[in-house]
């Protein structure tokens, strides 16, 4: 508990991490209070053809879409989908990747090599390519998007945890605990895991941003949840035939994606600075966000 408070206090002093935290809180509030904040909560399903493609104004903050639905209200409900996808996909990746990485890192056997080779195969292909192939095979739906993202993201955690576990094995406290007769399970759960938690947390935050970006790309390509789901990526795809006149139709959901991903990236960078003193000492080392092109 005191550890968490310490991290929060340190984060609050880092201006960009604070901005990230605020953005994520805003997203969470938008999702949670969508029915309250939405000016036209019914517009997730209702259509009003007479009011289609109206520019932003007092009645419709971000204008209306091709069905005459309120874009602002649909964005708020879209935040729920975004959070759902990110949390479940990253959660599932953690649930697979962390045990795999711990086991492969702790034990030295052919099975460790095999597990790491399997994760290498997944890392050998750009994530969006494999996710497209899986989502295409399974058909466009929300669970399938989450599945495709989880299947393609867990190896990142496996790799990370494996490397961190291996670097710990020569540490005196691990050797001495083993010499005292601690079982492997106890050793891994109580001594290895807490020491590899920091990079996992950092990676999870960056992973949320990355996963949300990839999910939006899948939605944009028509592989996301089907309409009338107010998914952000799909909304941008829908808007294209009404450009340049209905610019707000494309601009609003893109900004929502941008601010959300930015929030998780900034928080991840900030967490790394706080949790991983090695990086701080090196002076302006690379911040945490992963290579990211074309999603």
């Amino acid at each position: 508990m005191r550890g968490a408070l310490f991290v929060l206090a340190r984060l609050a002093r880092d201006r960009s991490a604070l901005v990230g935290l605020v953005l994520i809180l805003a997203l969470a509030l938008a999702a949670l209070l969508a029915p309250v904040l939405a000016t036209h909560p019914g517009d997730v399903f209702e259509i009003h053809p007479a009011k289609r493609l109206q520019p932003p104004g007092a009645q419709h903050l971000f204008g209306t879409d091709r069905m005459g639905s309120d874009i602002y209200s649909r964005l708020l409900y879209g935040a729920r989908i975004t959070i759902l996808i990110g949390v479940i996909a990253v959660g599932a990746s953690l649930a697979i990747g962390v045990p795999v990485g711990l086991a492969a890192g702790y034990y030295h056997s052919w099975a460790s090599d095999l597990l790491m080779r399997v994760s290498d195969i997944f890392l050998a292909v750009p994530q969006v390519v494999l996710a497209i192939a899986i989502a295409q095979t399974l058909g466009p739906s929300l669970p399938n998007v989450i599945l495709a993202l989880s299947v393609t993201y867990w190896p990142w955690f496996a790799r990370l945890v494996y490397a961190e576990t291996r670097s710990l094995e020569k540490e005196v406290f691990i050797e001495s605990t083993a010499a005292l007769g601690a079982s492997p399970l106890r050793l891994i759960a109580l001594h290895v895991l807490p020491n590899v938690a920091s990079p996992i947390i950092v990676r999870a935050s960056i992973g949320m941003g990355f996963t949300i970006l990839t999910a939006a790309a899948l939605g944009f390509l028509g592989l996301g949840p089907p309409p009338p789901t107010p998914e952000w990526g799909r909304t941008i795809a829908e808007s294209r035939e009404f450009l340049p006149d209905a610019w707000w139709y494309a601009a609003a959901p893109g900004l929502a994606i941008f601010l959300t991903v930015m929030g998780f990236n900034l928080l991840g960078d900030g967490l790394r600075d706080v949790l991983d003193p090695r990086i701080r000492r090196a002076g302006g080392a690379v911040r945490a966000s992963a290579v990211n092109a074309d999603v």
Partner: protein, 335 residues
């Protein structure tokens, strides 16, 4: 000798990893769908037609036999036949390769030529206004969705200002040439009108692709330069009275760029594998657009063929990057 052993070890792991990748695509295409044949046959096929197609495609045989057959055909360069164009997928991909290569080269050139100097400047004037401004740009580059950036660029430069064409690679006939890269062909043919037109078409998609790549390169260059600036040999060179510009651009940059070079390689691999989203937004007639059109048409074979192709290219580029790294950086050889 050490270097050679390392190179050999990397090479030995290449075939198994590739085989693993094929196993993954095999599982996705043959095992996950409840009935892959019905998927291929389409919704209007009668049960008799599905059964006939099943034995024709060899899907009634045991899975291991099918897998061996699948790998055997891939080894001969046979990626299968597109259900939509009814042409071999390998031919479809080959005919679109030049467009993707041209776009990738221009985008990478843009991000390297702009990103590395900006990274150096950002490190030299650390915590200055310029550094902070650049950080805002790099953070944005990694948070922005490519497809949205592309659409916004189209909205502004093509639709509102009319400075560039909206999409496509060239309006008229392509310049005569051998490389298939329109910019190069136009220069070789001395056709400046075609060159300008091709440049106008490639500007927006290349900028869209370059933005996240540029952000990555600025970050890695900045970090590398900052790290090297603290090392002893820089202090020594300063003490020896070398001009700062020589120290920075000749000595610091060379040792600072190792991780940046790796990133360039990785980014190149990702983009060459098919800039799926960006190509789609700009109707760029490359491999990425082919992949997305195949998805829309449910051209199942083509999607899998593309996945195999993209994975192979990406693996090969990564291998080359690792090998280059070993050759360039002596420290890699020692460890």
């Amino acid at each position: 000798m050490r270097a050679l052993a390392l190179v050999l070890r990397r090479l030995v792991w290449f075939p198994p990893t590739l085989l693993g990748l094929l196993a993954v695509t095999f599982v996705i295409s043959r095992v996950i769908p409840a009935d892959p044949v019905a998927l291929v046959a389409g919704e209007t096929a009668t049960p008799a037609q599905v059964a006939a197609l099943r034995s024709q495609l060899g899907f009634d045989r045991p899975l291991p036999v099918q897998f061996v057959d699948y790998v055997g055909r891939l080894a001969r360069g046979d990626l299968g036949t597109s259900l939509y164009t009814t042409r071999p997928i390998a031919d479809d991909l080959a005919s679109r390769l030049a467009a993707t290569i041209e776009l990738t080269l221009v985008a990478m050139a843009l991000s390297v030529l702009v990103g590395i100097p900006l990274g150096v400047v950002s490190a030299l004037w650390r915590n200055s206004v310029l550094d902070h401004a650049l950080r805002v740009i790099t953070v944005s580059g990694l948070a922005i969705a490519s497809f949205w950036l592309g659409i916004m660029l189209q909205l502004l430069f093509a639709m509102r200002l009319g400075w560039t064409p909206l999409n496509g690679r060239l309006a008229g006939f392509p310049p005569r040439g051998v490389t298939g890269l329109y910019l190069v062909d136009a220069v070789l043919a001395g056709d400046w009108a075609a060159f300008t037109a091709a440049l106008g078409h490639i500007a927006l998609p290349a900028a869209t692709l370059a933005f996240p790549a540029l952000a990555t390169l600025v970050r890695f260059t900045r970090a590398g330069v900052l790290e090297v600036m603290q090392s002893g040999f820089v202090l020594y060179e300063r003490a020896m009275g070398l001009p700062p510009s020589v120290i920075v651009w000749k000595y610091i940059l060379r040792s600072a760029l190792t991780s940046t070079v790796t990133q360039i390689g990785l980014l190149f691999g990702i983009l060459l594998a098919g800039a799926v989203v960006t190509e789609t937004v700009f109707d760029w007639p490359g491999i990425g657009t082919y992949a997305v059109n195949s998805i829309i048409r449910s051209d199942y074979n083509a999607v899998m063929g593309f996945t195999v192709w993209a994975g192979t290219i990406f693996l090969a580029v990564n291998l080359l990057v690792d090998l280059a790294h070993t050759v360039v950086d002596p420290r890699e050889r020692m460890s």
